[in-house]
């Protein structure tokens, strides 16, 4: 049974600008955001049978809702994020306290290195990919690789709209990959193509990539997708996945969607 960490959007809003999606002038319809979040939660719990852990929201931390950036969890070890921007660094202590209270062994990366958790580190059971340059430091990956005995292939993120790896790259449970190649440089594109066979890779069309089709949540043979991504949805069906479309456009104003709102715990 999958367990996922979420944080209710009580204090979600746009209070600063740290990615190209965020505009202080963008008005978030808070009631609508809350309804969208609850629909995501319903799908996770009722349709997918996921067990959810809920963090306590904190006033003044509008992005605490994006729990994918809390850190990463591997077995009983949690690596807490070290955010690049001061606006989000204030979240670190809350994520750390949650992991600690729930009995995780804590691992911290070297001071001075940035690492934004499952936003920038995802992959398949045998090997992982690490997004760097926008938020996380490439130097974190050899440290994590040595600790967890996993190969980590660094991929440079070259388009600021896709500032975390999970905004343009989504490995699935059956070994497939949804991704938007233009978010990577040619070295990264080649590295991915050499690792994941052609037929297992879907190049998500740009309009769907910009709706964060790659910010999908995969649990077994179920995939939760942002609404309005028919090409991605059709391909997933052909690969035997059941898709669940959820409208999360209020969160897109902040540059996040389904995956950003969740953190896989085990």
């Amino acid at each position: 049974m999958s367990r996922i960490l979420v944080c209710p959007p009580d204090f979600f809003g746009i209070e600063y600008e740290i990615n190209p999606w965020m505009r202080l002038t963008n008005h978030v319809d808070h009631g609508r955001a809350v309804r969208q979040w609850h629909e995501l939660i319903r799908v996770l719990e009722q349709d997918l049978g996921v067990i959810l852990e809920r963090m306590t929201p904190v006033p003044g931390l509008p992005d605490l809702v994006f729990t994918a950036n809390a850190g990463i969890v591997v077995g009983r070890t949690a690596v807490v994020s070290r955010f690049r921007y001061p606006e989000r660094q204030r979240e670190e202590v809350h994520f750390e306290n949650w992991f600690r209270r729930h009995g995780y062994e804590m691992m911290t990366v070297e001071a001075g290195l940035h690492f934004e958790g499952a936003g920038d580190l995802l992959g398949f059971p045998e090997y992982w990919f690490g997004g760097y340059r926008q938020r996380s430091d490439i130097r974190v990956f050899p440290i994590l690789s040595a600790h967890f005995h996993r190969e980590i292939i660094p991929l440079e993120l070259v388009d600021s709209r896709f500032y975390h790896l999970d905004t343009c790259f989504c490995p699935l449970s059956g070994g497939e990959l949804l991704y938007f190649p233009a978010a990577f440089d040619s070295y990264g594109q080649t590295a991915v193509a050499e690792r994941v066979p052609d037929k297992l890779r879907l190049t998500v069309p740009e309009d769907e990539a910009l709706k964060f089709a790659c910010n999908a949540v995969c649990v077994g043979k179920h995939v939760i997708l942002p609404a309005g991504c028919p090409t991605t949805q059709a391909w997933l069906h052909r690969r035997g996945y059941e898709t669940h479309m959820v409208q999360l456009d209020e969160f897109m104003r902040s540059g996040g969607s389904a995956k950003c709102l969740t953190l896989a715990l085990d």
């Binding site: 760097y132 340059r133 130097r139 070295y187």
Partner: protein, 414 residues
């Protein structure tokens, strides 16, 4: 020359991710060059790889730009320490742990900056001035009490030779010695270099002097006229030799013999063995070789050409010398010092038919100076290479043939 360099370290899964390729491409695209040092490729997917990359650039700014560009991709600058120095305890005595030089371009790190070591030469120590702004290679015997000497190996780096742009015999920098190798193209390459160097020397450009260190076999074998011609035509700018070469050269002028053998008749002449002694005696009588030439006593030959062309000659004595001639330096430390003083500015060294002077001169030459060692005995160029002068091109042939062919290629009528 790419004099600016820095080592960076790259680790992790850098092969499959093409991270190593990316960093190397960046260095090249930006105009730097690199050497890959200490590359380890992980044997399994989990095992990380690492590589140490030495980056070289022609300017400090470019080096900084490259470092700035590759650091976000995980290349970390190796933590480098300043070199350590210690005081010489007494005149002529180095600190116990002194750094012994090679003859390759060398830099030391002081106050966080890399500094070129001046006058590099093998088997010396490195002295640093009080403010740490100048570093110079220094022979043991020249060290003075309280001199600041580099000790240990930290903060010292040796720069491998860059392949020269000229695609000639010196470009290969190999001292492979064989009597079976054809000589023609090697001598042709030397002649080309000498023609270029004469032109550069006339324009007073740096490192344009040709040094010849030779033994008396040049005279015995019949190379005297060719060498004289080369000096007169301005192809040779410094001469290192011993008592014998000078004595037999002037013996030939006075008596027509070399060590008593008639140079034209090719046989011993009566009492010929006395000729070199009488020659030395006459020069001693007149006071100097220069006086012998300017007075007209000595009219032709190598020494006369040197005096007339203003070519400096260092004559180093040995234990078996007769006389010796005035001007021969009999204190070998002083002789070494006199030779050393003429090395800066040398752009080509010809070491011809002398084990002693070839090895002694080889020891003084930086590896950056193209060097040719000519001897009928293959063991001489081999010995030179074995003693560290790996840049020397060995040529197994007799001195007269070499000098005559060289002079012919440079325009001497035959």
């Amino acid at each position: 020359m790419n004099h600016y360099q820095e080592s960076v370290y790259l680790q992790g899964h850098i092969i499959d991710s093409l991270m190593l390729a990316k960093v190397l491409d960046l260095i090249l695209m930006m105009g730097g060059t690199f050497d890959l040092e200490d590359v380890h490729i992980g044997k399994t997917r989990e095992e990380p790889s690492h590589a140490r990359i030495r980056i070289r650039t022609a300017s400090r700014t470019l080096l900084d730009d490259i470092l700035k560009a590759i650091q976000p991709h995980g290349a970390s600058i190796e933590r480098e320490a300043d070199c350590r120095t210690d005081r010489a305890l007494a005149d002529g005595v180095l600190p116990d742990d002194f750094y012994a030089t090679t003859h390759l371009p060398t830099q030391i790190r002081l106050n966080g900056r890399w500094l070129d070591v001046d006058r590099i030469e093998m088997d010396l120590a490195i002295a640093v001035n009080e403010v740490g702004s100048v570093a110079q290679a220094v022979p043991m015997g020249e060290v003075r009490r309280e001199d600041r000497i580099v000790v240990g190996r930290e903060g010292v780096r040796v720069i491998p030779l860059q392949r020269p742009q000229e695609r000639d015999v010196f470009g290969f920098m190999e001292s492979q010695v064989s009597a079976e190798r054809p000589h023609g193209h090697i001598i042709a390459d030397i002649a080309t270099r000498m023609r270029q160097l004469r032109e550069r020397h006339r324009q007073e450009q740096a490192d344009s002097q040709v040094l010849l260190a030779g033994g008396p076999a040049i005279i015995h074998a019949g190379g005297r006229e060719a060498l004289t011609w080369l000096i007169e035509q301005g192809f040779i700018h410094i001469l290192f030799c011993g008592n014998a070469l000078a004595a037999h050269d002037m013996e030939a002028d006075l008596f027509g013999t070399s060590l008593g053998y008639g140079l034209t008749a090719g046989r011993a002449v009566p009492h010929g063995h006395e000729h070199h002694l009488r020659t030395i005696n006459r020069i001693r009588g007149i006071g100097s070789i220069e006086a012998a030439v300017t007075s007209g006593m000595i009219r032709q030959g190598i020494m006369a050409a040197c005096i007339r062309q203003g070519v400096p000659v260092v004559m180093s004595g040995t234990i078996r010398d007769d006389g010796p001639l005035p001007g021969v330096i009999t204190d070998s430390v002083l002789a070494q010092r006199a030779m050393r003083a003429l090395i800066p500015g040398v752009g080509l060294a010809l070491l011809v038919a002398s084990t002693l002077h070839s090895v002694a001169t080889g020891n003084l030459l930086p590896a950056t100076v193209p060097t040719v060692c000519v001897d009928v005995n293959p063991s001489v160029p081999t010995k030179l290479a074995d003693r560290g002068s790996f840049q020397a091109v060995g040529l197994v042939m007799d001195a007269a043939s070499f000098l005559s062919e060289l002079a012919r290629l440079l325009g001497r009528a035959t």
